[in-house]
């Protein structure tokens, strides 16, 4: 673990605040719809900072008020409620009178990445893939309109997805949980996939989950065919209740199993046999769900009164922009490039512990000493508590 400063000297705070102020002065922030019905909250670069003192229950009635507020107070972090209230500035939640709330998803590295990850950019890529999966579920399975879905880089370790389709905004907490259960495949009944007739009373066509699972299974068996026996057996034994003897037998009969699946004329079917018993298929289905589901932060989505970062504001813990991303740009979006708003003007800092960064494709190895770094990297390190601003040095260097 890197050593992180839990305090920040006043030069650094002042420097960051000035830089943030310049940003808010020159940028037109991206307001959420019905902004005047939302509660706003900020964390200032005050004496306590980087300790979080959240100032809450603000409300604004015009764009100019917000723009002016951000420029004058220049907060380190800016949030608004996902909820719309009748009285957003009331100091007690109960008196705010909840009316509706955006449906939001928080995709964070903590939820998604198990184990070590080689770098920040790898981590962000993994979270981006997860976000793509979620977007697929939202537009295909829930048939939501792209225009009502807003994707935002969180400024830290992931992405936020805001859904603002009118008829979803009234959903309560339990109802939102059903949406989470859907995207995480939770409560999905393997029996419905193995015996599709069971749900024919409801629907004649297979659900998207069903199709996705059976197709995944077909691909999975085909991929086993390409493997060395020992690898394939290793794969198979990771399925519940499959021992090495059974795995070997399945491997030897792969072609027949694949032939039985036969997805050529639509969805593959999971045929029961001596080898592929019901409990075997259940294990395979469970495995498919595990591979196909989306990992989202459940309590965030279920909470109808959450605070979330303002898109286009700055994240005080990284100096990155909480960048809104259009659908067209999402594939190419690279947070370590596209969410960087500061310049590459050389800036003097004293590095507190050895770090590597890679912002705007510039790989920097910083030692524990005073160095000049591009402004964006310097701000990133200062915001994260890995460096302090060192103005005196800058004068001597410039001479």
């Amino acid at each position: 673990m890197q050593k992180r400063n839990s305090i920040m000297n006043s030069d650094t705070k002042l420097f960051l605040q000035n830089k943030f102020r310049e940003y808010y002065k020159n940028v037109r922030v991206d307001l959420p719809p019905k902004f005047s019905k939302r509660e706003w909250a900020i964390v200032l670069f005050d004496d306590a900072y980087p300790r979080f003192i959240m100032r809450r229950h603000k409300a604004f009635s015009s764009f100019a008020d917000i723009a002016n507020y951000l420029e004058t107070l220049t907060p380190a972090h800016v949030y608004h409620s996902t909820a719309y209230y009748k009285y957003p500035s009331a100091s007690k939640m109960i008196s705010k009178e909840w009316e509706a709330a955006d449906l939001i998803f928080d995709l964070d590295a903590d939820q998604i990445i198990k184990g070590d990850v080689s770098s920040y950019s790898h981590m962000l890529n993994a979270v981006k893939d997860e976000t793509k999966k979620l977007l697929m579920f939202l537009t295909e399975d829930f048939a939501l309109n792209e225009d009502n879905i807003r994707v935002v880089f969180s400024g830290g370790r992931g992405y936020h997805v805001h859904v603002r389709e009118e008829r979803l905004t009234k959903l309560g907490s339990h109802e939102r949980r059903e949406v989470i259960n859907y995207v995480s495949g939770s409560g999905l009944e393997a029996e419905y996939i193995i015996y599709p007739k069971k749900i024919s009373e409801y629907s004649e066509s297979p659900t998207l989950w069903e199709t996705r699972i059976t197709k995944w299974i077909e691909r999975y068996f085909k991929s086993l065919l390409e493997m060395q026996e020992s690898d394939a057996i290793g794969q198979l034994t990771s399925i519940k209740d499959v021992g090495s003897k059974k795995a070997k037998e399945i491997f030897e009969n792969l072609e027949e199993i694949i032939g039985n699946l036969d997805g050529s004329s639509g969805a593959p079917r999971l045929i029961k046999s001596r080898l592929t018993t019901e409990s075997f298929w259940k294990g395979v289905v469970r495995r498919a769900i595990f591979e196909l589901k989306v990992n989202v932060d459940e309590p965030v989505t279920a909470d109808t009164k959450r605070l979330i970062r303002l898109a286009s504001s700055l994240h005080g813990g990284s100096g990155f922009c909480v960048a809104p991303i259009s659908w067209e740009q999402f594939d190419d979006f690279d947070p370590l490039y596209d969410a960087v708003v500061f310049s590459d003007e050389m800036t003097p800092v004293r590095v507190l512990s050895k770090t590597t960064t890679e912002i705007k494709n510039e790989r920097i190895l910083a030692d524990e000493k005073t160095v000049e770094l591009p402004e964006h990297t310097a701000i990133y390190l200062m915001a994260r508590g890995f460096a302090e601003y060192e103005p005196q040095r800058s004068k001597s260097h410039k001479k």
Binding site: K170, L171, E178, V179, N181, L188, I199, Y202, L208, W209
Partner: protein, 351 residues
């Protein structure tokens, strides 16, 4: 009068009709023959809901249809006067089940018409297929009424297709039953005045008598010995009842304990009614989960776990001899039974 109002008196349409009729509950309390009929039916609705199911009445004459309609708002007022959640809940279940049965017994044509009127009344947008046997719901309408249901066929993940769920007529009726239950349960809190409640006192008394016997009959409730609770459980109960919000671990410990000693889910849910974040459906779900609805039945945590999470309060002498709140309860209860006759009266827990 439109038969629909009498059959589904909790609908918006019916309550608008009642309003426009100019007859108020107070009028009915002082009125003549018509009001006797209404009052009798009202308390019957409530008592029958407590005992099992609300029975149908003869609706062959117009006056009877009208009485049937007015008996609902009056019954709801009686329930509000008594204001015991156990009753409100039983009553809501009863009305919802009654409505389902009525729908089932209607002719096909009439059922279709009434179903579509009910759907509109609950602001559910549903499309009826040409075969007149299946409906299509948007998922937002579906989850509004099914998120409290546990069966896997009510889970989006098993039944949704591109934002919609196809439902058989019978399933739609189940959803309506659920909608009705919630509507009756949360009927905009009628706060009847003391005057109104007083004038209903004889009906209320007879309902309370039915309520008492139904509560002591319900499950093992009567066998619960509240005086034998260990101090930690007493403390948790008093915290909840004074409106404090319990930590997750404390909530679990209390719920599991009460379930383990044989209390029913409904009765456990009672305890949480004063919690600041009380949410009936969710609490019920949590309680049922702990009681084993998902297949695992939980046992309440032992003393050392209680201590770890800061849930061990007010240790007394007997705590030295036990390592589990349940063994405390068993020992204490056995001792008390040996010395005095236990009065397994529900009022011990109700307070």
């Amino acid at each position: 009068m439109d038969e629909y109002f009498a059959l589904f008196p909790f609908t918006r349409a019916a309550s608008e009709y009642v309003k426009s009729s100019g007859i108020s509950v107070e009028d009915l309390l002082t009125g003549g023959g018509f009001s006797t009929e209404v009052l009798t039916r009202s308390s019957q609705r409530v008592k029958q809901a407590l005992e099992g199911e609300i029975g149908r009445v003869d609706l062959s004459e117009d006056i009877k249809v009208t009485a049937e309609l007015f008996s609902y708002p009056v019954a709801r007022v009686m329930v509000s006067c008594i204001n015991v959640h156990f009753l409100t809940q039983k009553y809501a279940n009863g009305e919802a089940q009654f409505a389902f049965q009525k729908l089932e017994s209607l002719s096909e044509d009439k059922a279709l018409t009434f179903i579509s009127r009910l759907l509109a009344d609950f602001d559910i947008e549903a499309t009826l297929f040409e075969d007149e046997n299946r409906y299509k719901f948007h998922f937002t309408d579906f989850v509004r009424f099914t998120s409290g249901l546990r069966d896997s066929r009510w889970k989006l993940v098993n039944v949704m297709n591109r934002g919609y769920i196809e439902l058989a007529k019978k399933e739609v009726m189940k959803i309506l039953q659920q909608a009705i239950r919630l509507k009756v349960l949360n009927a905009p809190q009628l706060k009847p005045s003391n005057k109104v409640c007083n004038s209903l006192s004889s009906d209320i008394k007879s309902i309370v008598a039915t309520l008492d016997s139904s509560m002591s009959k319900s499950g093992d409730f009567g066998a619960i010995d509240a005086d034998s609770y260990p101090p930690c459980i007493r403390e948790l109960i008093s915290l909840v009842q004074s409106g404090k919000s319990l930590s997750h671990t404390a909530r679990f410990a209390l719920t599991a304990f009460l379930a383990n000693i044989g209390m029913s889910a409904d009765d456990i849910v009672h305890f949480y009614e004063n919690s600041p974040d009380f949410d009936f459906e969710f609490t019920r779900y949590q309680v049922e989960h702990i009681m084993g609805s998902s297949g695992t039945k939980y046992t309440s945590p032992g003393c050392s776990t209680m201590e770890t999470y800061g849930n061990c309060y007010l240790k007394d002498k007997m705590c030295k001899y036990v390592s589990h709140p349940l063994s405390y309860y068993r020992k204490r209860s056995a001792r008390r039974k040996a010395s005095t006759k236990s009065n397994g009266n529900y009022t011990d827990i109700m307070v």
